[in-house]
């Protein structure tokens, strides 16, 4: 075991898989000599050479279009999109091509690739360096969507994503790139996609959160405990496929559910979780399922701290499940 930050664990996962499997290549803007604007690919070009870790021209469409071609041909691309906010020129390649290759060819062709991208707010990045647009991708059948919240999960989930036979959006909560540290197994370390994690056990209310919201919810749970509320926190870790059983099992036990996410509320993935709980655990619910999310505005700059769900808002959401 080594102690690592989340971003170091991301690098470690790529290094591990590039050593394991020479089909794995890493590319994107500034990922070579500079090692990525966040340094997630630091050292990879030195170790694996320019054939396997390289800079591209400034075109997200080009990055993902070529990744699709590589995957169809049989190598294993990991494409970095510098910020998730810049992925939209590649949207067509992702939703029309990568996501549909297996289905539309009746399984003749497949598209196993990983798109890694830092996402989310809390870094004073304004709306082009802060968005949480996971819902667009969750809404697209054919894509898997994975979001780690700890270094160990980052490594284990990224390795699983690279080995997966389908296209995976691997979204990295950049706000906690360096602020969370944890023990990470060396070498092989696999965390399966579709298995959530109980972050904290509790009996009164279930809080479902992913990415940087997990640590906010942990702080809120501490505060709630002072007020006599026992909070259970579930991190689904992959949104697609989703570990529904883990969430439902928890809600059946606690009878209450709050979903916390950074994205705008309307049509968010949090809304999907709320719908699943309402549909499948209604007979166990003792209060409304509450969403605590971003507001339905573009991501702001000066008022970011009011936009992002914080401990105050999570606690208020928890209280709502008790008072109705």
């Amino acid at each position: 075991m080594a102690t690592m930050t989340l971003i170091e664990a991301v690098t470690d996962a790529m290094r591990t898989e590039m050593r394991n499997d020479d089909r794995v290549v890493v590319f994107g803007e500034d990922v070579g000599k500079k090692g990525g604007v966040f340094l997630a690919t630091q050292g990879l070009q030195e170790e694996f050479g320019e054939q396997r870790c390289f800079d591209t021209p400034l075109s997200e469409c080009g990055i993902i279009g070529t990744a699709v071609g590589m995957a169809v041909y049989g190598i294993r691309p990991i494409a970095e999109i510098q910020f998730l906010d810049f992925i939209y020129p590649a949207f067509d390649q992702i939703v029309s091509e990568a996501a549909k290759m297996r289905y539309r060819s009746g399984g003749e062709y497949t598209c196993p690739l990983v798109i890694r991208s830092p996402y989310g707010g809390g870094i004073r990045g304004g709306h082009y360096h802060s968005q949480s647009s996971e819902a667009y991708f969750c809404h697209t059948p054919g894509l898997k969507v994975v979001i780690p919240s700890t270094p160990a999960d980052a490594k284990g989930l990224l390795i699983s994503s690279i080995r997966d036979e389908d296209p995976v959006m691997f979204l990295e909560p950049k706000r906690i790139y360096r602020s969370v540290k944890g023990e990470v197994p060396e070498g092989e370390h696999v965390v399966p996609l579709g298995k959530g994690r109980v972050v904290r056990e509790g009996s009164d209310v279930t809080v479902v959160a992913y990415g940087s919201m997990v640590s906010i919810c942990e702080q809120a749970a501490e505060k709630a405990a002072e007020q006599g509320r026992s909070v259970e926190i579930i991190d689904p870790r992959s949104l697609v496929p989703l570990d529904e059983d883990l969430i439902l099992e928890s809600v059946r036990k606690t009878g209450r559910c709050v979903v916390v996410f950074e994205a705008p509320r309307t049509c968010s993935f949090g809304s999907e979780i709320a719908a699943i709980v309402a549909e499948k655990a209604i007979e166990h619910l003792e209060g409304p399922v509450v969403r605590v999310g971003g507001f339905d505005t573009p991501f702001p700059y000066s008022l970011e701290h009011l936009y992002m769900p914080d401990v105050r808002r999570v606690l208020k959401g928890i209280e709502k499940t008790f008072q109705w």
Binding site: K34, V37, G126, D296, P300, S302, L303, R312
Partner: protein, 370 residues
């Protein structure tokens, strides 16, 4: 069509011009160009310093590129429009935007014309026909083409200038924008500021074309390479392009060959990926010094004049900073304004929800970069 020749240049290093090349612009115009370039540099120095002191969250400089954007922008009339990128600080100055408006944007305070919605240097100055800057690279290129098409439809004689970098030439919008502009004869001057770098990627890895200007040929418009550190050359080339556009002869691609003296932004350290030699060589070609020597020969520049303008702009910018720092953040409910013309019922409810929260606001969040 002009392509692979060395870029057109007028000013020599010592400030002389090749004989019959001096455009002999009027003295007040020359001084306006010079002062704007100097002001832009002072603004950039203060901006980065404030970021380093933790007083603003981010900054991005145009050091060494002042001639490129000031020379080109100065060929437009006040009624013409800009579709800028994020590296043209001299344009608002040239257009007379008050330093208060510029500096308030850095602070995202309640005096910011864009209400604290964007990161520093992503200005929006409608008063100057300077369209809101966004971060995604290249998007303004096709927009300028569209605005040019609209002006033709309306029968206006407005000309549009769109700015982007060498990296921007790889974007989808570069292709779409140039293609549409040429097909519809849009009155647009596309200014590609080729500063040799897109963060850490050199222009030589951005394209295998001989130049950026040569790409114009494929779209069916003139492409011209000009020495981007030579304000007179940039001015001359863009003046011709603007005239063509205004006469209804369609768009032009101008490649200003320059160099990004600074790191990409306050988040970047160019020493990690760039040779000191290359950097030093370009520093010798500083556009402000070159122009200064020319003005000196024309007896339009001396030490006292320099001291006077330095003092004037430093004072004006520092005063604006002082005032900006005294202003509060935009009001809390401004978070919900301007999503649409009117608040939707959902936004109204969300605003009430935020206003009704009790207890202290969480502190401002992390810093950019991480």
């Amino acid at each position: 069509m002009t392509t692979t020749q060395p870029p057109l240049s007028i000013l020599q290093k010592d400030g002389k011009t090749a004989k019959d090349k001096d455009p002999n612009l009027p003295a007040d115009q020359l001084k306006r160009l010079y002062e704007t370039m100097v002001a832009a540099r002072i603004l950039d120095e203060r901006g980065l310093a404030l970021q380093r002191q933790g007083r603003i969250g981010f900054y991005l400089q145009a050091l060494g590129q002042e001639a490129s954007h000031v020379g080109s922008a100065s060929t437009l009339q006040d009624s013409d429009w800009f579709f800028p990128a994020y590296r043209q600080p001299g344009i608002p100055i040239l257009r007379g935007v008050p330093f208060d408006d510029i500096v308030n944007e850095w602070y995202g305070n309640d005096g910011d014309t864009s209400k604290g919605r964007q990161m520093p240097v992503h200005y929006s100055f409608r008063q100057a026909n300077f369209v809101s800057v966004s971060s995604p690279i290249g998007t303004q290129i096709s927009q300028a083409a569209g605005a040019g098409m609209a002006a033709r439809i309306r029968g206006d004689d407005t000309v549009f200038m769109s700015y982007f970098g060498d990296g921007g030439t790889s974007s989808n919008d570069f292709h779409a924008g140039l293609n549409f502009a040429a097909v519809f004869k849009a009155p647009v001057v596309f200014v590609c500021e080729n500063n040799q770098w897109a963060i850490s990627v050199p222009a030589t890895n951005q394209t295998k074309s001989e130049s950026m200007a040569i790409k114009a040929q494929a779209y069916g418009m003139p492409g011209i390479r000009v020495d981007g550190n030579d304000v007179l050359a940039v001015h001359r080339v863009c003046k011709e392009a603007v005239e063509r556009a205004r006469k209804g002869e369609g768009p032009t691609l101008v490649e200003t060959v320059t160099y990004r003296i600074a790191s990409h932004s306050s988040s970047d350290d160019a020493a990690r990926y760039r040779d000191a030699d290359e950097f030093e060589a370009w520093k010798q070609r500083d556009p402000i010094q070159r122009f200064q020597r020319y003005l000196q020969r024309k007896k339009l520049w001396n030490e006292a004049y320099e001291a006077e303008i330095q003092e004037r702009y430093k004072q004006a910018i520092n005063d604006a900073i002082k005032r900006a720092e005294a202003r509060p953040r935009p009001p809390l409910d401004s978070l919900f304004e301007d999503v649409y013309l009117n608040l939707t019922p959902q936004l109204r409810a969300q605003r009430e929800e935020l206003l009704s929260l009790e207890g202290p606001e969480s502190a401002e969040l992390g810093e950019f970069p991480l």
